[in-house]
Symmetry: C2
DNA sequence: AAACATTAATTAAATTAATTAAAAAAGATT
DNA sequence: AATCTTTTTTAATTAATTTAATTAATGTTT
């Protein structure tokens, strides 16, 4: 068992510092006395901590608030432009880069295509990563001294503690020490995380999960990744494998998955599943807009567009996929019973067609009345979710207290 | 969001008190200086806390240890007989009662049959519970002043915070305020919990999960209940529904479950599933010992006994069930990636026949090498697991620190 | 308009409980 | 017998919160 957390003055201090800082962050604008009320800290404690945060340039005294029949409160805000973070989202076909401030606001972004993706070996991949980071950093206008770290989100299994990409399904990489290599190259703190987990963290800090203690975030793209937030923190499990919901089996005799098993959730409810349903319909010779798309590949985007135009077959494909998504989500509810489930990733663009079937499935099938009412929402952050999550990897350490004994 | 935990002197004290107490509990016998080394608390802090614990009669200075080239250490142990707890496990057909000391050791036990179970309404159930508790307490020899509480485990969905039995599948009870009623009657603290979660807690404190931070405990009986332990604590989710793994769907087109859905885990891998497989084989006219059991009902126990005698069909039924259990456990691994999975409940008696197929399924199908090595173990506590867990409900509050702000 | 009340923030003293440093207790070693 | 070790305790110190009192700024009432 891990050594327990013991009480000490440092723990007390760092706990309260982070409570105050996060209270300011979450409220956006708040006075010292309100912080004291909300956190049950005493006013002098709040004053002391706030003054330290102002000295550290993390907090600003902005304006005076409205008096409530006495002295006007001084409104505090996060000094959001005092530091910034570079985030990277390594996707299958492209790499996204962004700069955000402490508020998760993007001030610069860039998309690089993945060079002949399949062929990259470990060395080439790391070289490519260094190259695009160097050129991106040169274009950044903020002072280099204000950059506090680089966050990297990537698909596949990632050991976030050691910062190692353990296994990627498309990039054929095994145990790549991304963190160490990039830290060495740029002499900055680097954090690496699985993209679905990064997305979940992004949603916790700046998206739909802001106010929720426990939730599960599904990244529904070509596969289905999951990020689990429990007690406001990402849950990784024993080998960083927690949240691999895409590979939970929901149909024993279903289609074969890339992992070798049959009927994995992602064979039935991902972008891949959409494509396969479409191909099948076309083979069957059903009349649909989907046959008239010329030489564009039939993928999620195309099906969504056809559905928007009113194509019955496309709509049916989306409805069916939504039902399966609902079933997988039902399993999540009966497993962990989170207060909220956030659906993100490429497929979530078609949310308007999916949400109906999802909620219907859950309302008719969940075990208890309360479970039936589990909030299912679409991602707030859209296609940049994992990227913003990547930045949040660095951010969260700035705001979170350090345990006394590591 | 719940109000955050802030640092205070009480928090520091209560945290360290519980760390010291639990270190003594887990090690059984340990000196002050060893506690200091293990917890990284300083020796004076340990001395102070230990002396308080001795004053509170929770800890004893027992004997002197072996000198390591200097002053002999004074060995400390939990004063396990200074308090005791009454536990109740409300099953489908019977109610178990027990008295344990602080070490989870049972000093007295009793089993009461459930009176014509199906007919009990809320009032009758509570009356019955009061009656058997009164008569059990009269038989208890330990002084009433040393009794610190009553713990109640029961099947179905339980709101452990309010102590309400929300829904029971066999007892037709809805929202029964068990805690309030029994507290009023006996003027003692009462804690109520779902039986699978109680079992998990029991395993955490006194069984196979003692040394493990995150694990999932499956209670495989007629149905399959689950208890999730994360960061050494039971996880309940938003509506006490977390861990209802028995109702996660693994075969979309499988048999219909009592909950109305198809292919729930428990339709394929529980005692119920064993029975149904046996009936089917008999109907098919396969030659087996199972047909010769006279008028005993064909249930798990009978199948297990036949398998022990070498009956091929019974063995095959158990093997098949083990495979399905393995599949469900695989889903748990890909969901939460716990370091350990504990299999308990009635069906676990047949563990010798089940473990092979379970581990084989996981080793061939898990996503990563580490996941394939997830420890799958049988319950340490046997059929009294939930009962001991019921006692632990009360115990854990004695040993666990209170958050400063409730 | 002056006096009073209210709310916000700060300062100073008191308190809590850990930590540091030193000493005492009890043996072991040479 | 003298010295070194390990365990435990005592006394002094320190870090951070808490309590109580104070200052600041504004609103309300007479």
């Amino acid at each position: 068992m891990a050594s327990p957390i013991t009480g000490s003055f440092q723990l007390m201090k760092s706990l309260n510092r982070s409570v105050v800082l996060n209270t300011i962050r979450i409220h956006g604008a708040i006075s010292r006395s309100e912080i004291a009320k909300k956190t049950k800290l005493t006013p002098p404690t709040v004053t002391n901590i706030v003054n330290e945060l102002i000295d550290a340039e993390l907090v600003l005294e902005s304006r005076s608030g409205k008096s409530n029949g006495g002295r006007k409160p001084i409104i505090l805000t996060i000094n959001s432009n005092s530091r910034y973070i570079v985030g990277v989202d390594v996707g299958v076909n492209k790499v996204r880069l962004a700069v955000t401030n402490l508020n998760g606001e993007v001030s610069k972004r860039k998309v690089e295509p993945m060079p002949v993706s399949k062929a990259l070996n470990e060395e080439e991949f790391l070289l490519f990563l260094k190259k695009i980071l160097h050129s991106f950093l040169e274009e950044v206008s903020e002072g280099r001294d204000k950059l506090i770290g680089i966050g990297i989100a990537m698909h596949g299994i990632v050991d976030h503690e050691k910062g190692i990409a353990i296994h990627g399904p498309t990039l054929k990489l095994e145990k790549v020490p991304v963190k160490d290599v990039i830290e060495e190259e740029f002499n900055l703190p680097v954090r690496v995380e699985n993209d679905a987990k990064a997305l979940a963290l992004g949603e916790k800090w700046f998206g739909a999960g802001k106010e929720t203690d426990h939730f599960v975030c599904l990244n529904v793209g070509e596969g289905i990744g999951g990020g689990i937030v429990l007690n406001n923190r990402l849950f990784h499990g024993n080998n960083s494998l927690a949240g691999e919901v895409g590979h939970t089996i929901i149909d024993l005799n279903g289609p074969t998955c890339s992992c070798g098993n049959k009927g994995c959730f992602q064979t039935l409810a991902s972008g891949q599943a959409l494509k396969e349903r479409a191909s099948k319909k076309i083979e069957e010779g059903v009349e649909t807009e989907l046959t008239k798309i010329g030489n564009r590949e039939i993928e999620g985007q195309v099906i969504y567009e056809a559905a928007l135009k009113g194509d019955v077959v496309a709509k049916e494909i989306l409805r069916e996929t939504g039902e399966y998504l609902g079933l997988g989500i039902l399993n999540v509810i009966h497993f962990l019973n989170p207060s909220m489930i956030i659906v993100g990733g490429g497929v979530s663009k078609a949310g308007s067609f999916l949400m109906g079937p999802i909620t219907e499935t859950i309302e008719t099938r969940a075990l208890s009345f309360e479970a039936q009412k589990t909030r299912i929402v679409l991602s707030d952050l859209g296609e940049e979710g994992s990227l913003i999550g990547a930045c949040t990897l660095v951010l969260s350490e700035l705001f979170t207290h350090e345990h006394g004994n590591t």
